[in-house]
Amino acid sequence: MATEPAAREMDDVIETVEATERPHGARRVWSWLWPKLAALALFIAAWQLVVWSGWRPDYLLPGPLPVFQRLSEDLSQPTFYAGVAVTLRRALVGYAIAIAIGSVIGVLVARAPIVRKAVGHAILGLQSMPSIAWLPLAILLFQQSEGAVLVVVILGAAPAVATGLLAGVDHVQPLLVRVGRVMGARGIQLYRYVILPAALPGYVGGLKQGWAFAWRSLMAAEIINIIANQPSIGQQLQFAHDFADAQQLLALMIVIFFIGVTVDLGFGFADRAIRRRRGLA
């Protein structure tokens, strides 16, 4: 009796599935890639034109070709990788601590109205405060150590993580929470099974923004707070400036940009995957 209508409804499903089907393989990669390559080509062309115009002498503003040559030389130097390793280690450690602190604060603010009243605005204020402003204090407290750098990274990223999680929790459909309660979930269970999964898209947004803040805070801190025997990217950048080595300066900037974009891409994919699973994209 009910098999026939079930078949009718199945038609609906197949339609929706087909409508969301996307092109596959090389075509998809190419359609994703070519606008980026075109933008990159335009940028390099503009850079070359500025160099050719003679606006600044070659030793201050080298052209793309010598910079890329320098970059490929750097890429064969062990010291370069040592620098990248130091910087990435700081980024990951600082970011991980920021995620832990930001997540705890986010849940606390979301759960306890009194905490929200007390520090809700402070977190937003902290987020808009340039975290590098903490560096002088951090150096006083931790000397010129890695600790001072991490403080700046954590203070840069944690508020964004907390804000993202809070926004995610605040935007959970009340109906879903009611369903969870009717199903018998209380307290921690309600968070574990309903609220946190529902808040995931907002949380990932916060993580993404937190990463951006962590990365830029780290660069600022590394340039200012030079630590002996720690050849970080920021330090190499500062040294390139000190030795008026413009080629090295630009090569390093390309590396910094590349790392930032790569991580951002990762977040972009995660975000889209989550939204697609939920039928939001």
Binding site: M1, P5, L175, V179, G184, Y193
Partner: protein, 264 residues
């Protein structure tokens, strides 16, 4: 939350009956600006175990509030209520968790009920989805299902709670007429095959007569039981039968009377 449970425990202490749901002089007010809005006033309802009762009323008649109170989602202002056993509540929207598949939505209800291990939950979810004719759709996500199918999953999820009392808040209000007709058949079949007590809220008199042993007409602002109709048409009933239409017509007439501002 807490006072509602207290009220239930109080009622439990002195109650001995075969009633699945007993509501006695229940009043619920909401603060609204500088005065109180009376959503429910002196509502008294009894449901025998295994009974199917429908409530019809215009929007704003406190029908949903009553179900929320019975499900423990709202507190009462005064009066008492008692629900025997476990309660499940279905909403107008399926309200499936969008990050879970159809099967996982049902499995979560089982998990929160303490069913172990995971393989047993998967087996039971499979059976429940089969009972609502969703065999083969276990791994679909909610956005890949039609409105009627989502409500079937929601029904399977409610059944997974192994409730004694199923509260339904206009559950078929947003599906098309044919799908609704089919869902009526399935609900009717599931109810007759079980010992479920169902309290079903709708604003559609025909739907109420199609499903209910009794139909309660609610007044608006404040919500009260205005009249009770006992439906003794044989089951299964057809939404298109003339006998059903006659009874539904009388109920609709009574509803209109309630909705006129002067009450006549």
């Amino acid at each position: 939350m807490r006072p509602a449970l207290d009220a239930r425990q109080q009622a439990d202490a002195g109650a001995v009956s075969s009633r699945a749901v007993a509501v006695e002089r229940l009043t619920k007010t909401f603060p609204h600006g500088d005065r109180n809005l009376v959503a429910l006033q002196d509502v008294t309802i009894d449901l025998q175990a295994g009974e199917f009762v429908c409530i019809v009323g215009a929007s704003g008649s406190g029908k949903s509030t009553l179900l929320n109170v019975l499900a423990g989602l709202e507190t009462v202002s005064s009066g008492r209520f008692e629900v025997q056993g476990r309660v499940a509540l279905m909403f107008q929207e399926a309200a499936l968790f969008p990050w879970l598949t159809a099967s996982q939505n049902v499995e979560l209800a089982l998990e929160l009920r303490g069913v172990k291990p995971g393989s047993e939950r998967r087996r039971q979810a499979h059976d429940l989805l089969e009972r609502v004719h969703l065999h083969g759709f276990e791994r679909r996500r909610p956005h890949e299902l039609s409105g009627g199918m989502k409500q079937r999953v929601a029904l399977a999820r409610a059944l997974a709670q192994d409730a004694d009392v199923l509260l339904m808040d206009e559950p078929f209000g947003s599906v098309d007429a044919i799908t609704r007709d089919l869902l009526h058949e399935e609900l009717d079949r599931l109810w007759r095959a079980s010992s479920l007590t169902i309290l079903f809220v709708t604003h559609n008199a025909r739907e109420a007569v199609r499903l209910g042993d009794r139909v309660l007409v609610f007044t608006s602002r404040p919500g009260r039981v205005a009249q009770e109709f006992t439906i003794d048409l044989p089951r299964p009933r057809s939404l298109d039968s003339p006998e059903l239409a006659v009874v539904a017509g009388r109920i609709t007439e009574r509803l209109k009377q309630e909705m006129r501002p002067d009450g006549h």
